[in-house]
């Protein structure tokens, strides 16, 4: 029965995708991609991926729409190119779709326990996590400990993207340093009473929930990536209702920059500390007296580093778009 629910949602997903491609008005396309993200989160949840669904929820609902709208405000909200559909791409794309579908007939069906993907390394992770790391959430264990290198690489991609956006959009100040120039006229929605009262009430809860997700990530769905997106959603809400100036006073650009670099440094630092104490890079078992306590400490610090960098990057990007808007 739940499989049928999944099939239904997947069908809706395809319809939404066609809608996004067809929409001439980019604002409409952005709204439809909001629906797309909600459907993706529900499908992830049905497919047993609670952590992934939480990430999609935090990113898709809180950050993605706001960023896309910020970009639309700076460019053009309508597609002005030729409206006709060209035949060559349609033919190529349809043929490729049929080929990919033909290729799927060799794949094991959904949920097959005999599928090759479940045979090799995954059972090892599931069996050894309680013994080696002893935290309930296997996803967090793999993310932060077993595949720590991989996550470090991902973190540096986010770090680089944040720096890149700053170089492209932030305004050079007098001394040549980049800044985000909060201007006095940035009102936000300050004269709308209802969103302001409710928003001010909710911001602390969102940040608190973000911190819960950050530090509860070893026991339930959560971790640095989700928490970073949630906390930045909270501050974006604050910036929307009180104006960017107020948000930058609460969390200054300097602090955000420090968070972006500090999170990545914390991650690398934990790895180096492991090396100094006689283990390998990102080997946490040497961090404390017994290996399991060391793993717990290492995972907590690494997740904190991830959370700092993600929060810093997403908020910096948001402020960069918003500050650009006011300069026009």
């Amino acid at each position: 029965m739940v499989t049928l629910f999944g099939v239904f949602l997947l069908t809706l997903l395809v319809i939404t995708a066609f809608g996004i491609v067809r929409a001439q008005h980019l604002f409409v396309a952005v709204m439809l991609s909001g629906i797309f993200s909600l459907q993706m989160a529900a499908i992830f949840f049905i497919l047993d991926a609670a952590d992934v669904a939480l990430t999609e929820a935090a990113v898709g609902a809180g950050v993605a729409t706001v960023l896309m709208l910020g970009a639309l405000a700076l460019t053009d909200d309508r597609e002005r190119g030729p409206k006709r559909h060209r035949w060559a791409p349609i033919v190529v794309v349809s043929l490729t779709t049929l080929m990919v579908i033909y290729a799927t007939f060799d794949k094991p069906r959904l949920g097959d326990p005999e599928a090759p993907v479940h045979q090799h390394v995954a059972p090892w992770y599931l069996e050894e996590t309680p013994r080696l790391i002893d935290i309930p959430n296997v996803v967090t264990a793999i993310l932060a400990s077993f595949r720590g290198y991989d996550t470090l690489g991902e973190l540096f991609v986010i770090f680089t993207a944040g720096i890149g956006v700053l170089f492209l959009l932030a305004n050079p100040s007098k001394r040549g340093a980049l800044s985000l120039l909060p201007s006095a006229e940035a009102e936000g929605l300050r004269h709308h009473l209802v969103p302001r009262v409710v928003g001010r009430l909710l911001v602390p809860f969102i940040v608190l929930f973000g911190l819960y997700v950050q530090f509860h990530g070893e026991y339930g769905p959560g971790g640095g990536f989700q928490a970073g997106a949630l906390i930045s959603a909270g501050f974006i809400l604050y910036a929307l209702i009180e104006g960017e100036g107020a948000a930058l006073r609460a969390m200054s650009f300097r602090l955000l920059r420090g968070m972006i670099a500090g999170g990545a440094l914390l991650y690398v630092g934990v790895g180096l500390a492991g090396m100094l104490l006689g283990g390998n890079f990102l080997d946490y078992s040497v961090l404390a007296d017994n290996p399991i306590a060391g793993q717990h400490l290492g995972i907590m610090l690494v997740e904190a580093g991830v959370g700092l960098t993600v929060t810093g990057t997403l908020l910096t990007v948001f402020h960069a778009f918003a500050a650009r808007e006011q300069r026009r």
Binding site: V2, L12, F27, M31, L32, A42, A50, L189, P221
Partner: protein
Amino acid sequence: MYFAATIAILLTMSLALARALLGPTVFDRVLAVNMFGTKTVLLLSVIAFLYGRPDFLDLALAYALINFIGVLAVLKFVQDYMLRHQDTDL
């Protein structure tokens, strides 16, 4: 009995999607997104119990907390848009 509620929610989701695709104004689409958001919160809570893993309610809680940020962003977008182009409709 969770199934009945799930089916009702899924049907409502498809109705909301129809509204999002039909329009006609852009605000109808924003309304549909918002409806879809609350329906997703319900769907996630119901399915968490259907699966017997109530500890996954965190997800629904996350959506309940931050789903309306998108609508506030739309309000701000429209407000700025009307300031800039006073003559044209969105």
